[in-house]
Protein backbone atom coordinates (compact mmCIF):
# COMPACT_ATOMS: atom_id res chain seq x y z
CA UNK A 1 0.00 0.00 0.00
CA UNK A 2 1.34 3.36 -1.05
CA UNK A 3 1.47 5.88 1.75
CA UNK A 4 2.54 8.99 -0.07
CA UNK A 5 -0.26 11.29 -1.09
CA UNK A 6 -0.61 14.44 -3.04
CA UNK A 7 -2.35 17.50 -1.69
CA UNK A 8 -4.72 19.84 -3.47
CA UNK A 9 -4.90 23.62 -3.22
CA UNK A 10 -7.53 23.36 -0.48
CA UNK A 11 -5.16 21.35 1.72
CA UNK A 12 -2.39 23.92 1.35
CA UNK A 13 -4.82 26.76 1.97
CA UNK A 14 -5.90 25.17 5.27
CA UNK A 15 -2.28 24.87 6.36
CA UNK A 16 -1.55 28.47 5.41
CA UNK A 17 -4.59 29.79 7.28
CA UNK A 18 -3.43 27.90 10.36
CA UNK A 19 0.11 29.30 10.06
CA UNK A 20 -1.24 32.82 9.73
CA UNK A 21 -3.30 32.48 12.91
CA UNK A 22 -0.54 31.00 15.12
CA UNK A 23 1.86 33.69 13.96
CA UNK A 24 -0.84 36.34 14.35
CA UNK A 25 -1.34 35.41 18.02
CA UNK A 26 2.39 35.88 18.56
CA UNK A 27 2.33 39.32 16.92
CA UNK A 28 -0.77 40.39 18.86
CA UNK A 29 0.91 39.56 22.18
CA UNK A 30 4.25 41.14 21.32
CA UNK A 31 3.48 44.57 22.80
CA UNK A 32 2.63 43.11 26.20
CA UNK A 33 6.08 41.57 26.67
CA UNK A 34 7.60 44.27 28.87
CA UNK A 35 9.32 42.34 31.65
CA UNK A 36 11.02 38.99 32.00
CA UNK A 37 7.98 37.83 33.99
CA UNK A 38 5.62 38.72 31.12
CA UNK A 39 7.77 36.74 28.75
CA UNK A 40 8.73 33.73 30.88
CA UNK A 41 5.86 33.25 33.33
CA UNK A 42 2.97 34.71 31.33
CA UNK A 43 2.48 37.49 33.87
CA UNK A 44 0.36 35.15 36.04
CA UNK A 45 -2.92 36.43 34.63
CA UNK A 46 -4.40 33.64 32.53
CA UNK A 47 -7.87 32.13 33.27
CA UNK A 48 -8.11 28.49 34.35
CA UNK A 49 -9.90 27.11 31.29
CA UNK A 50 -7.07 28.37 29.07
CA UNK A 51 -4.22 27.07 31.23
CA UNK A 52 -6.17 23.83 31.70
CA UNK A 53 -6.42 23.15 27.98
CA UNK A 54 -2.81 24.24 27.46
CA UNK A 55 -1.81 21.84 30.24
CA UNK A 56 -2.91 18.81 28.25
CA UNK A 57 -2.26 20.30 24.81
CA UNK A 58 1.45 20.74 25.46
CA UNK A 59 1.60 17.05 26.38
CA UNK A 60 -0.34 16.14 23.23
CA UNK A 61 2.68 16.51 20.97
CA UNK A 62 3.12 14.71 17.68
CA UNK A 63 5.13 11.92 19.32
CA UNK A 64 2.36 11.38 21.85
CA UNK A 65 -0.33 11.28 19.15
CA UNK A 66 1.57 8.93 16.87
CA UNK A 67 2.97 6.90 19.76
CA UNK A 68 -0.40 6.35 21.41
CA UNK A 69 -1.97 5.35 18.09
CA UNK A 70 0.94 2.95 17.58
CA UNK A 71 0.39 1.46 21.06
CA UNK A 72 -3.31 1.24 20.35
CA UNK A 73 -2.53 -0.95 17.33
CA UNK A 74 0.12 -2.96 19.14
CA UNK A 75 -1.47 -3.44 22.57
CA UNK A 76 -5.11 -2.43 22.11
CA UNK A 77 -7.34 -0.89 24.75
CA UNK A 78 -4.92 -1.45 27.66
CA UNK A 79 -3.05 1.56 26.29
CA UNK A 80 -5.73 3.64 28.01
CA UNK A 81 -3.95 2.86 31.26
CA UNK A 82 -1.61 5.68 30.25
CA UNK A 83 -4.62 7.98 30.66
CA UNK A 84 -7.19 6.77 33.18
CA UNK A 85 -4.76 5.39 35.76
CA UNK A 86 -1.54 6.86 34.33
CA UNK A 87 -2.56 10.52 34.31
CA UNK A 88 -5.87 11.34 36.01
CA UNK A 89 -4.97 10.45 39.64
CA UNK A 90 -1.71 12.39 39.34
CA UNK A 91 -3.47 15.40 37.85
CA UNK A 92 -5.99 15.38 40.69
CA UNK A 93 -3.18 15.12 43.23
CA UNK A 94 -1.29 17.99 41.61
CA UNK A 95 -4.35 20.23 41.63
CA UNK A 96 -5.54 19.49 45.14
CA UNK A 97 -2.35 18.97 47.09
CA UNK A 98 0.72 20.22 45.26
CA UNK A 99 -0.33 23.40 43.47
CA UNK A 100 -0.81 25.24 46.78
CA UNK A 101 2.95 24.91 47.34
CA UNK A 102 4.08 25.52 43.79
CA UNK A 103 1.83 28.53 43.33
CA UNK A 104 1.91 29.79 46.91
CA UNK A 105 5.71 29.72 47.07
CA UNK A 106 5.85 32.26 44.20
CA UNK A 107 8.54 30.11 42.61
CA UNK A 108 8.91 30.86 38.93
CA UNK A 109 9.88 27.32 38.03
CA UNK A 110 9.99 23.82 39.48
CA UNK A 111 13.79 23.97 40.01
CA UNK A 112 13.32 27.25 41.83
CA UNK A 113 10.89 25.57 44.20
CA UNK A 114 13.59 22.98 44.90
CA UNK A 115 16.02 25.77 45.72
CA UNK A 116 13.57 27.39 48.16
CA UNK A 117 12.67 24.09 49.79
CA UNK A 118 16.05 22.34 49.75
CA UNK A 119 19.25 23.87 48.48
CA UNK A 120 21.28 25.09 45.54
CA UNK A 121 22.67 21.73 44.44
CA UNK A 122 19.27 20.05 44.26
CA UNK A 123 18.03 22.91 42.10
CA UNK A 124 21.11 22.87 39.90
CA UNK A 125 20.85 19.13 39.27
CA UNK A 126 17.18 19.39 38.35
CA UNK A 127 17.59 22.56 36.26
CA UNK A 128 20.49 21.31 34.16
CA UNK A 129 19.04 17.86 33.51
CA UNK A 130 15.64 19.34 32.69
CA UNK A 131 17.09 21.94 30.32
CA UNK A 132 19.03 19.34 28.35
CA UNK A 133 16.08 16.96 28.32
CA UNK A 134 13.59 19.50 26.92
CA UNK A 135 15.93 20.48 24.11
CA UNK A 136 16.45 16.90 23.07
CA UNK A 137 12.75 16.13 23.36
CA UNK A 138 11.90 18.95 20.99
CA UNK A 139 14.70 17.88 18.65
CA UNK A 140 13.44 14.31 18.52
CA UNK A 141 9.87 15.36 17.78
CA UNK A 142 11.09 17.73 15.07
CA UNK A 143 12.98 14.83 13.54
CA UNK A 144 9.87 12.65 13.66
CA UNK A 145 7.73 15.31 12.00
CA UNK A 146 10.26 15.99 9.25
CA UNK A 147 10.60 12.27 8.54
CA UNK A 148 6.83 12.02 8.28
CA UNK A 149 6.54 14.97 5.91
CA UNK A 150 9.29 13.47 3.79
CA UNK A 151 7.58 10.09 3.39
CA UNK A 152 4.04 11.45 3.09
CA UNK A 153 4.37 14.57 1.04
CA UNK A 154 7.83 14.27 -0.38
CA UNK A 155 8.86 17.44 1.44
CA UNK A 156 12.56 17.94 1.84
CA UNK A 157 13.77 16.95 5.35
CA UNK A 158 15.64 20.21 5.89
CA UNK A 159 12.73 22.27 4.56
CA UNK A 160 10.31 20.63 7.03
CA UNK A 161 12.69 21.17 9.94
CA UNK A 162 13.24 24.82 9.14
CA UNK A 163 9.64 25.75 8.38
CA UNK A 164 8.34 24.11 11.59
CA UNK A 165 11.16 25.48 13.74
CA UNK A 166 10.77 28.95 12.26
CA UNK A 167 7.05 29.17 13.00
CA UNK A 168 7.48 27.99 16.59
CA UNK A 169 10.42 30.36 16.98
CA UNK A 170 8.50 33.37 15.73
CA UNK A 171 5.47 32.95 17.93
CA UNK A 172 7.36 32.00 21.10
CA UNK A 173 9.97 34.73 20.56
CA UNK A 174 7.30 37.38 20.09
CA UNK A 175 4.80 36.45 22.75
CA UNK A 176 6.68 34.19 25.15
CA UNK A 177 4.85 31.75 27.39
CA UNK A 178 1.53 33.48 26.91
CA UNK A 179 1.74 33.06 23.15
CA UNK A 180 2.67 29.39 23.58
CA UNK A 181 -0.28 28.84 25.94
CA UNK A 182 -2.82 30.68 23.78
CA UNK A 183 -1.67 28.79 20.72
CA UNK A 184 -1.85 25.51 22.62
CA UNK A 185 -5.56 26.14 23.18
CA UNK A 186 -6.11 26.81 19.48
CA UNK A 187 -4.00 23.77 18.61
CA UNK A 188 -5.93 21.61 21.05
CA UNK A 189 -9.24 22.34 19.31
CA UNK A 190 -7.63 21.81 15.93
CA UNK A 191 -6.21 18.43 16.95
CA UNK A 192 -9.61 17.29 18.22
CA UNK A 193 -11.57 18.51 15.21
CA UNK A 194 -8.93 17.27 12.76
CA UNK A 195 -8.81 13.70 14.09
CA UNK A 196 -12.49 13.31 14.93
CA UNK A 197 -13.54 12.43 11.34
CA UNK A 198 -10.92 9.67 11.37
CA UNK A 199 -12.50 8.02 14.39
CA UNK A 200 -15.99 8.35 12.93
CA UNK A 201 -15.13 7.01 9.49
CA UNK A 202 -13.05 4.21 11.00
CA UNK A 203 -15.81 3.10 13.35
CA UNK A 204 -18.47 3.27 10.63
CA UNK A 205 -16.43 1.20 8.21
CA UNK A 206 -15.64 -1.47 10.80
CA UNK A 207 -19.19 -1.78 12.10
CA UNK A 208 -18.99 0.33 15.22
CA UNK A 209 -17.52 -0.68 18.55
CA UNK A 210 -19.18 -4.10 18.18
CA UNK A 211 -17.48 -4.71 14.86
CA UNK A 212 -14.14 -3.58 16.24
CA UNK A 213 -14.47 -5.88 19.26
CA UNK A 214 -15.30 -8.95 17.20
CA UNK A 215 -12.55 -8.28 14.66
CA UNK A 216 -9.95 -7.75 17.39
CA UNK A 217 -11.21 -10.81 19.26
CA UNK A 218 -10.01 -12.87 16.30
CA UNK A 219 -6.61 -11.18 16.43
CA UNK A 220 -6.42 -11.83 20.18
CA UNK A 221 -7.35 -15.51 19.99
CA UNK A 222 -4.96 -16.07 17.07
CA UNK A 223 -2.16 -14.85 19.35
CA UNK A 224 -3.33 -17.10 22.15
CA UNK A 225 -4.93 -14.39 24.32
CA UNK A 226 -8.48 -14.20 25.64
CA UNK A 227 -10.97 -12.68 23.19
CA UNK A 228 -11.10 -9.33 24.99
CA UNK A 229 -7.33 -8.84 25.31
CA UNK A 230 -7.31 -5.96 22.82
CA UNK A 231 -10.60 -4.30 23.76
CA UNK A 232 -10.70 -4.44 27.57
CA UNK A 233 -8.55 -2.61 30.08
CA UNK A 234 -8.25 -4.40 33.43
CA UNK A 235 -9.26 -7.99 32.72
CA UNK A 236 -6.27 -8.59 30.38
CA UNK A 237 -3.76 -7.45 33.00
CA UNK A 238 -4.55 -10.07 35.66
CA UNK A 239 -1.35 -11.80 34.50
CA UNK A 240 1.49 -10.45 32.40
CA UNK A 241 1.08 -13.39 30.02
CA UNK A 242 -2.55 -12.46 29.30
CA UNK A 243 -1.82 -9.34 27.27
CA UNK A 244 0.49 -8.25 24.45
CA UNK A 245 2.07 -5.52 26.61
CA UNK A 246 3.42 -8.16 28.98
CA UNK A 247 2.47 -6.27 32.13
CA UNK A 248 0.40 -7.18 35.17
CA UNK A 249 -1.94 -5.07 37.28
CA UNK A 250 0.65 -4.44 39.97
CA UNK A 251 3.20 -3.08 37.52
CA UNK A 252 0.47 -0.89 36.01
CA UNK A 253 -0.77 0.32 39.34
CA UNK A 254 2.57 1.00 41.03
CA UNK A 255 4.94 1.56 38.13
CA UNK A 256 2.74 3.44 35.71
CA UNK A 257 -0.12 4.72 37.82
CA UNK A 258 1.94 5.81 40.79
CA UNK A 259 5.65 6.33 40.17
CA UNK A 260 5.86 7.25 36.49
CA UNK A 261 2.59 9.13 36.30
CA UNK A 262 3.05 11.21 39.45
CA UNK A 263 6.69 11.76 38.51
CA UNK A 264 5.68 13.19 35.17
CA UNK A 265 2.49 15.14 35.87
CA UNK A 266 3.42 16.48 39.29
CA UNK A 267 7.08 17.41 38.85
CA UNK A 268 7.69 18.05 35.17
CA UNK A 269 8.02 21.78 34.67
CA UNK A 270 6.76 21.46 31.11
CA UNK A 271 3.22 20.90 32.35
CA UNK A 272 3.45 22.48 35.82
CA UNK A 273 4.51 25.76 34.17
CA UNK A 274 1.06 26.00 32.59
CA UNK A 275 -0.62 25.80 35.98
CA UNK A 276 1.85 28.29 37.46
CA UNK A 277 0.85 30.81 34.77
CA UNK A 278 -2.76 30.89 36.00
CA UNK A 279 -4.17 34.13 37.34
CA UNK A 280 -5.00 33.05 40.89
CA UNK A 281 -4.43 30.25 43.38
CA UNK A 282 -7.88 28.87 42.60
CA UNK A 283 -7.22 28.98 38.85
CA UNK A 284 -3.82 27.33 39.32
CA UNK A 285 -5.36 24.47 41.30
CA UNK A 286 -8.15 24.05 38.78
CA UNK A 287 -5.73 23.96 35.82
CA UNK A 288 -4.86 20.24 35.97
CA UNK A 289 -8.44 19.37 36.96
CA UNK A 290 -9.94 21.19 33.98
CA UNK A 291 -7.29 19.59 31.80
CA UNK A 292 -8.24 16.17 33.15
CA UNK A 293 -11.78 16.43 31.77
CA UNK A 294 -10.83 16.32 28.06
CA UNK A 295 -7.74 14.23 28.86
CA UNK A 296 -9.95 11.26 29.78
CA UNK A 297 -11.50 11.22 26.33
CA UNK A 298 -8.31 11.59 24.30
CA UNK A 299 -7.88 7.78 24.13
CA UNK A 300 -10.92 7.68 21.85
CA UNK A 301 -9.19 10.14 19.57
CA UNK A 302 -5.72 8.59 19.41
CA UNK A 303 -5.86 4.99 20.69
CA UNK A 304 -9.06 3.87 18.96
CA UNK A 305 -7.73 4.76 15.45
CA UNK A 306 -4.75 2.51 16.20
CA UNK A 307 -7.08 -0.33 17.17
CA UNK A 308 -9.10 0.21 14.00
CA UNK A 309 -5.90 0.08 11.96
CA UNK A 310 -5.03 -3.26 13.55
CA UNK A 311 -8.52 -4.62 12.91
CA UNK A 312 -8.40 -3.51 9.26
CA UNK A 313 -4.95 -5.02 8.84
CA UNK A 314 -6.17 -8.38 10.13
CA UNK A 315 -9.06 -8.34 7.65
CA UNK A 316 -7.67 -9.27 4.20
CA UNK A 317 -10.75 -7.85 2.45
CA UNK A 318 -10.30 -4.35 3.84
CA UNK A 319 -7.58 -3.32 1.42
CA UNK A 320 -5.72 -1.70 4.32
CA UNK A 321 -2.56 -3.10 5.84
CA UNK A 322 0.06 -1.58 8.08
CA UNK A 323 3.50 -1.71 6.45
CA UNK A 324 5.98 -4.27 7.68
CA UNK A 325 9.22 -3.18 9.33
CA UNK A 326 11.68 -5.90 10.22
CA UNK A 327 9.68 -8.77 11.65
CA UNK A 328 6.65 -6.81 12.87
CA UNK A 329 4.30 -4.08 11.69
CA UNK A 330 5.52 -0.51 11.46
CA UNK A 331 3.11 0.71 14.10
CA UNK A 332 4.37 4.30 14.03
CA UNK A 333 2.75 4.74 10.63
CA UNK A 334 -0.79 4.24 11.98
CA UNK A 335 -1.93 7.87 11.94
CA UNK A 336 -0.49 8.87 8.55
CA UNK A 337 -1.73 5.61 6.96
CA UNK A 338 -5.22 6.10 8.32
CA UNK A 339 -5.30 9.74 7.19
CA UNK A 340 -4.36 8.66 3.69
CA UNK A 341 -6.82 5.77 3.71
CA UNK A 342 -9.97 7.63 4.75
CA UNK A 343 -9.43 11.33 4.07
CA UNK A 344 -10.15 12.91 0.70
CA UNK A 345 -8.49 16.18 -0.18
CA UNK A 346 -9.92 18.88 2.06
CA UNK A 347 -10.12 17.07 5.39
CA UNK A 348 -6.76 15.55 4.47
CA UNK A 349 -5.24 19.01 4.73
CA UNK A 350 -7.10 19.48 8.00
CA UNK A 351 -5.76 16.19 9.40
CA UNK A 352 -2.19 17.00 8.42
CA UNK A 353 -2.55 20.49 9.86
CA UNK A 354 -3.80 18.91 13.09
CA UNK A 355 -0.71 16.72 13.14
CA UNK A 356 1.48 19.79 12.66
CA UNK A 357 -0.47 21.60 15.38
CA UNK A 358 0.22 18.76 17.79
CA UNK A 359 3.90 18.89 16.93
CA UNK A 360 4.01 22.65 17.50
CA UNK A 361 2.17 22.51 20.83
CA UNK A 362 4.69 19.97 22.10
CA UNK A 363 7.70 21.84 20.79
CA UNK A 364 6.58 25.27 22.01
CA UNK A 365 5.98 23.72 25.42
CA UNK A 366 9.53 22.46 25.53
CA UNK A 367 10.97 25.73 24.31
CA UNK A 368 9.08 27.92 26.79
CA UNK A 369 9.97 25.62 29.68
CA UNK A 370 13.59 25.60 28.58
CA UNK A 371 13.98 29.36 28.32
CA UNK A 372 12.50 29.90 31.78
CA UNK A 373 14.75 27.34 33.46
CA UNK A 374 17.75 28.60 31.53
CA UNK A 375 17.14 32.26 32.37
CA UNK A 376 16.09 32.02 36.01
CA UNK A 377 17.68 28.81 37.25
CA UNK A 378 20.92 28.70 35.31
CA UNK A 379 21.80 32.13 33.94
CA UNK A 380 20.51 34.32 36.77
CA UNK A 381 21.65 31.89 39.46
CA UNK A 382 25.10 30.86 38.32
CA UNK A 383 26.28 32.94 35.40
CA UNK A 384 25.16 36.53 35.77
CA UNK A 385 23.10 37.50 38.82
CA UNK A 386 22.06 41.02 39.85
CA UNK A 387 21.31 42.44 36.43
CA UNK A 388 18.30 44.54 35.47
CA UNK A 389 15.06 42.85 34.54
CA UNK A 390 15.43 44.19 30.98
CA UNK A 391 18.62 42.18 30.75
CA UNK A 392 16.87 38.96 31.78
CA UNK A 393 14.03 39.61 29.33
CA UNK A 394 16.66 39.82 26.62
CA UNK A 395 18.34 36.64 27.88
CA UNK A 396 14.98 34.87 27.84
CA UNK A 397 14.40 35.89 24.23
CA UNK A 398 17.91 34.84 23.27
CA UNK A 399 17.42 31.51 25.07
CA UNK A 400 14.36 30.94 22.87
CA UNK A 401 16.44 31.35 19.73
CA UNK A 402 19.33 29.35 21.17
CA UNK A 403 17.05 26.56 22.39
CA UNK A 404 15.47 26.15 18.97
CA UNK A 405 18.84 26.16 17.23
CA UNK A 406 20.13 23.42 19.52
CA UNK A 407 16.89 21.44 18.96
CA UNK A 408 17.54 21.61 15.23
CA UNK A 409 21.01 20.23 15.91
CA UNK A 410 19.43 17.46 18.01
CA UNK A 411 17.03 16.64 15.18
CA UNK A 412 19.94 16.11 12.80
CA UNK A 413 21.75 14.11 15.45
CA UNK A 414 18.68 11.87 15.73
CA UNK A 415 18.75 11.43 11.97
CA UNK A 416 22.42 10.39 12.07
CA UNK A 417 22.78 8.33 15.24
CA UNK A 418 19.69 6.55 16.41
CA UNK A 419 21.57 4.95 19.32
CA UNK A 420 22.64 8.24 20.84
CA UNK A 421 19.00 9.25 21.16
CA UNK A 422 18.00 5.94 22.74
CA UNK A 423 20.88 6.31 25.14
CA UNK A 424 19.94 9.86 26.10
CA UNK A 425 16.31 8.93 26.66
CA UNK A 426 17.44 6.13 28.91
CA UNK A 427 19.58 8.47 31.01
CA UNK A 428 16.67 10.89 31.37
CA UNK A 429 14.40 8.07 32.40
CA UNK A 430 16.86 7.28 35.20
CA UNK A 431 16.98 10.92 36.28
CA UNK A 432 13.19 11.37 36.22
CA UNK A 433 12.12 8.13 37.85
CA UNK A 434 12.89 9.04 41.48
CA UNK A 435 11.83 12.73 41.33
CA UNK A 436 8.36 12.30 42.77
CA UNK A 437 9.76 10.80 45.99
CA UNK A 438 11.77 14.00 46.54
CA UNK A 439 8.75 16.25 46.02
CA UNK A 440 6.47 14.09 48.12
CA UNK A 441 8.86 14.14 51.07
CA UNK A 442 9.74 17.78 50.50
CA UNK A 443 6.14 18.94 50.54
CA UNK A 444 4.73 16.69 53.25
CA UNK A 445 7.59 15.96 55.65
CA UNK A 446 9.25 19.05 57.03
CA UNK A 447 12.22 17.15 58.39
CA UNK A 448 13.51 16.48 54.84
CA UNK A 449 16.84 18.23 54.38
CA UNK A 450 18.76 19.54 51.38
CA UNK A 451 21.42 16.85 51.62
CA UNK A 452 18.70 14.23 51.99
CA UNK A 453 16.94 15.42 48.85
CA UNK A 454 20.06 15.67 46.73
CA UNK A 455 21.69 12.38 47.69
CA UNK A 456 18.31 10.67 47.70
CA UNK A 457 17.82 11.73 44.10
CA UNK A 458 21.27 10.48 43.14
CA UNK A 459 20.57 7.15 44.86
CA UNK A 460 17.27 6.85 43.00
CA UNK A 461 18.98 7.47 39.68
CA UNK A 462 21.70 4.97 40.59
CA UNK A 463 19.08 2.39 41.59
CA UNK A 464 17.32 2.86 38.24
CA UNK A 465 20.58 2.42 36.36
CA UNK A 466 21.60 -0.67 38.36
CA UNK A 467 18.17 -2.26 37.97
CA UNK A 468 18.26 -1.62 34.25
CA UNK A 469 21.81 -2.94 34.03
CA UNK A 470 20.89 -6.21 35.72
CA UNK A 471 17.62 -6.99 33.94
CA UNK A 472 16.47 -7.46 30.39
CA UNK A 473 13.18 -7.59 28.56
CA UNK A 474 12.38 -10.88 26.87
CA UNK A 475 14.17 -11.23 23.55
CA UNK A 476 16.53 -8.27 24.03
CA UNK A 477 19.49 -8.20 21.67
CA UNK A 478 21.21 -4.91 22.43
CA UNK A 479 22.62 -3.65 25.71
CA UNK A 480 20.62 -0.42 25.41
CA UNK A 481 17.64 -2.55 26.51
CA UNK A 482 19.41 -3.61 29.70
CA UNK A 483 21.74 -6.19 31.10
CA UNK A 484 24.86 -4.10 30.50
CA UNK A 485 26.26 -4.86 33.94
CA UNK A 486 27.31 -8.29 32.74
CA UNK A 487 24.81 -10.55 34.47
CA UNK A 488 21.07 -10.69 33.95
CA UNK A 489 19.32 -11.51 37.21
CA UNK A 490 15.78 -11.19 35.89
CA UNK A 491 14.09 -11.24 32.49
CA UNK A 492 10.87 -9.29 32.13
CA UNK A 493 8.16 -10.36 29.70
CA UNK A 494 8.38 -7.00 27.92
CA UNK A 495 10.25 -3.71 27.80
CA UNK A 496 7.21 -1.97 29.27
CA UNK A 497 7.27 -4.23 32.33
CA UNK A 498 10.99 -3.56 32.75
CA UNK A 499 10.38 0.20 32.53
CA UNK A 500 7.67 0.07 35.18
CA UNK A 501 9.90 -1.87 37.56
CA UNK A 502 12.92 0.36 36.93
CA UNK A 503 10.74 3.27 38.02
CA UNK A 504 9.46 1.43 41.09
CA UNK A 505 13.01 0.62 42.25
CA UNK A 506 14.19 4.17 41.62
CA UNK A 507 11.29 5.65 43.56
CA UNK A 508 11.71 3.50 46.65
CA UNK A 509 15.50 3.85 46.67
CA UNK A 510 15.11 7.62 46.56
CA UNK A 511 12.39 7.55 49.23
CA UNK A 512 14.44 5.40 51.61
CA UNK A 513 17.73 7.23 51.12
CA UNK A 514 16.14 10.67 51.42
CA UNK A 515 14.56 9.68 54.74
CA UNK A 516 17.76 8.12 56.10
CA UNK A 517 20.04 11.00 55.08
CA UNK A 518 17.52 13.59 56.29
CA UNK A 519 17.45 11.96 59.71
CA UNK A 520 21.26 11.97 59.82
CA UNK A 521 21.72 15.58 58.70
CA UNK A 522 20.64 18.89 60.16
CA UNK A 523 17.74 20.84 58.66
CA UNK A 524 19.34 23.59 56.60
CA UNK A 525 16.22 25.75 56.42
CA UNK A 526 14.58 27.65 59.25
CA UNK A 527 10.92 27.31 60.09
CA UNK A 528 10.25 30.70 58.56
CA UNK A 529 11.96 29.80 55.32
CA UNK A 530 9.82 26.68 54.98
CA UNK A 531 6.55 28.50 55.45
CA UNK A 532 4.40 28.05 52.36
CA UNK A 533 6.62 25.25 51.09
CA UNK A 534 5.77 22.40 53.45
CA UNK A 535 2.32 21.11 54.35
CA UNK A 536 2.61 21.32 58.15
CA UNK A 537 3.96 24.89 58.09
CA UNK A 538 1.48 26.32 55.60
CA UNK A 539 -1.85 27.76 56.68
CA UNK A 540 -4.78 25.93 55.03
CA UNK A 541 -5.90 27.88 52.02
CA UNK A 542 -9.52 28.79 51.61
CA UNK A 543 -10.62 28.72 48.04
CA UNK A 544 -11.81 32.11 46.85
CA UNK A 545 -14.61 30.67 44.70
CA UNK A 546 -17.97 31.75 46.04
CA UNK A 547 -20.02 28.71 45.16
CA UNK A 548 -19.21 25.15 46.18
CA UNK A 549 -19.43 23.82 42.64
CA UNK A 550 -16.70 26.21 41.48
CA UNK A 551 -14.18 24.82 43.96
CA UNK A 552 -11.29 22.55 42.94
CA UNK A 553 -12.46 19.81 45.33
CA UNK A 554 -15.81 19.49 43.58
CA UNK A 555 -14.15 19.40 40.18
CA UNK A 556 -11.77 16.71 41.44
CA UNK A 557 -14.68 14.53 42.57
CA UNK A 558 -16.36 14.85 39.17
CA UNK A 559 -13.14 13.98 37.35
CA UNK A 560 -12.55 11.00 39.64
CA UNK A 561 -16.08 9.65 39.12
CA UNK A 562 -15.86 9.89 35.32
CA UNK A 563 -12.47 8.13 35.31
CA UNK A 564 -13.83 5.30 37.45
CA UNK A 565 -16.96 4.96 35.30
CA UNK A 566 -14.87 4.81 32.11
CA UNK A 567 -12.63 2.15 33.64
CA UNK A 568 -15.66 0.07 34.63
CA UNK A 569 -17.31 0.38 31.20
CA UNK A 570 -14.15 -0.86 29.49
CA UNK A 571 -13.10 -3.23 32.27
Amino acid sequence: MDISFSLGWVDYLIMIIYFVFVLGIGFALKRYMKSSADFLTGGKSIPAWITGLAFISTNLGALEVMGMAASGAKYGMITTHFYWIGAIPAMIFLGLFMMPFYYGSKARSVPEYLKMRFDEKTRGFNAVSFAIMTIFASGISMYALAMLMETLLGWNFTFSIFISALIVLVYTYLGGLKSAIYNEVLQFFLIVIGFLPLVFLGLISIGGWEGLTSQLAEVATSHGYAAGAYTETWSPVANSSDNPMGVDWFGIFMGLGFVLSFGYWCTNFLVVQRAMAAGSMSAARKTPLIGALPKMFIPFLVIVPGMIAMALTSDPDSGFALPIKGNSYDYDKVIPMMLGYYFPTGVLGLGLTALMASFMSGMAGNVTAFNTVWTYDIYQSYINPDKSDKHYLRVGQMATVFGILVSIGAAYMAALFNNVMDFLQLIFAFINAPLFATFLLGMFWRRTTGHGAFFGLLSGTAAAAIHHGLTQPYGAVTLIKGGWLGTVVHTYPSEMAQNFWTAIFAFFACLAMTIIISLLTKQNKTKDELKGLVYSLTPRIKDESKRWYQRPEFLAVIVGIIAVVLSIIFW
Binding site: V10, L13, I14, I17, Y18, F21, G24, I25, A28, L29, Y32, S45, I46, P47, I50, Y182, V185, L186, F189, I193, L196, P197, L201, I204, S205, Y341, Y342, F343, P344, T345, G346, V347, L350
Partner: protein
Protein backbone atom coordinates in the same frame (compact mmCIF):
# COMPACT_ATOMS: atom_id res chain seq x y z
CA UNK B 1 -6.93 39.45 29.52
CA UNK B 2 -5.44 41.81 26.97
CA UNK B 3 -6.20 39.48 24.09
CA UNK B 4 -9.30 37.32 24.19
CA UNK B 5 -8.13 34.01 22.73
CA UNK B 6 -11.70 33.12 21.77
CA UNK B 7 -11.59 35.77 19.07
CA UNK B 8 -8.73 34.30 16.97
CA UNK B 9 -9.97 30.75 17.62
CA UNK B 10 -13.47 31.76 16.53
CA UNK B 11 -12.16 33.54 13.43
CA UNK B 12 -9.92 30.71 12.38
CA UNK B 13 -12.54 27.99 12.73
CA UNK B 14 -15.20 30.11 11.02
CA UNK B 15 -12.83 30.67 8.11
CA UNK B 16 -11.70 27.03 7.89
CA UNK B 17 -15.29 25.86 8.34
CA UNK B 18 -16.57 28.03 5.51
CA UNK B 19 -13.74 26.88 3.27
CA UNK B 20 -14.42 23.18 3.82
CA UNK B 21 -18.18 23.65 3.68
CA UNK B 22 -18.05 25.40 0.32
CA UNK B 23 -15.45 22.96 -0.98
CA UNK B 24 -17.70 20.11 0.14
CA UNK B 25 -20.73 21.55 -1.63
CA UNK B 26 -18.87 22.17 -4.88
CA UNK B 27 -17.35 18.68 -4.89
CA UNK B 28 -20.59 16.95 -3.88
CA UNK B 29 -21.03 15.56 -7.41
CA UNK B 30 -17.56 14.00 -7.46
CA UNK B 31 -18.04 10.31 -6.58
CA UNK B 32 -14.34 9.50 -7.04
CA UNK B 33 -13.34 11.94 -4.29
CA UNK B 34 -15.57 10.55 -1.54
CA UNK B 35 -15.11 6.88 -2.33
CA UNK B 36 -12.43 6.56 0.35
CA UNK B 37 -14.57 8.29 2.97
CA UNK B 38 -17.36 5.70 2.56
CA UNK B 39 -19.44 7.95 0.25
CA UNK B 40 -19.77 10.46 3.06
CA UNK B 41 -19.10 14.08 2.16
CA UNK B 42 -16.73 14.45 5.05
CA UNK B 43 -15.60 17.90 3.91
CA UNK B 44 -19.13 19.25 4.16
CA UNK B 45 -19.76 17.81 7.62
CA UNK B 46 -16.37 18.76 9.07
CA UNK B 47 -16.82 22.23 7.64
CA UNK B 48 -20.24 22.54 9.21
CA UNK B 49 -18.99 21.44 12.64
CA UNK B 50 -16.07 23.87 12.47
CA UNK B 51 -18.32 26.70 11.37
CA UNK B 52 -20.69 26.12 14.30
CA UNK B 53 -17.79 25.85 16.75
CA UNK B 54 -16.09 28.95 15.35
CA UNK B 55 -19.36 30.87 15.43
CA UNK B 56 -19.97 29.94 19.07
CA UNK B 57 -16.47 31.09 20.03
CA UNK B 58 -17.06 34.40 18.28
CA UNK B 59 -20.38 34.89 20.07
CA UNK B 60 -18.71 34.24 23.45
CA UNK B 61 -15.86 36.61 22.64
CA UNK B 62 -18.14 39.40 21.46
CA UNK B 63 -20.47 39.03 24.44
CA UNK B 64 -17.53 39.23 26.83
CA UNK B 65 -16.33 42.37 25.07
CA UNK B 66 -19.76 43.98 25.30
CA UNK B 67 -20.15 43.32 29.01
CA UNK B 68 -16.67 44.75 29.57
CA UNK B 69 -17.33 48.02 27.79
CA UNK B 70 -20.64 48.52 29.59
Amino acid sequence: MEVDIRLPIGLMFTLLGLLLLIFGITTEADPELYKRSLEINVNFWSGLIMLVFGGLMLVFALRAKKSKTK
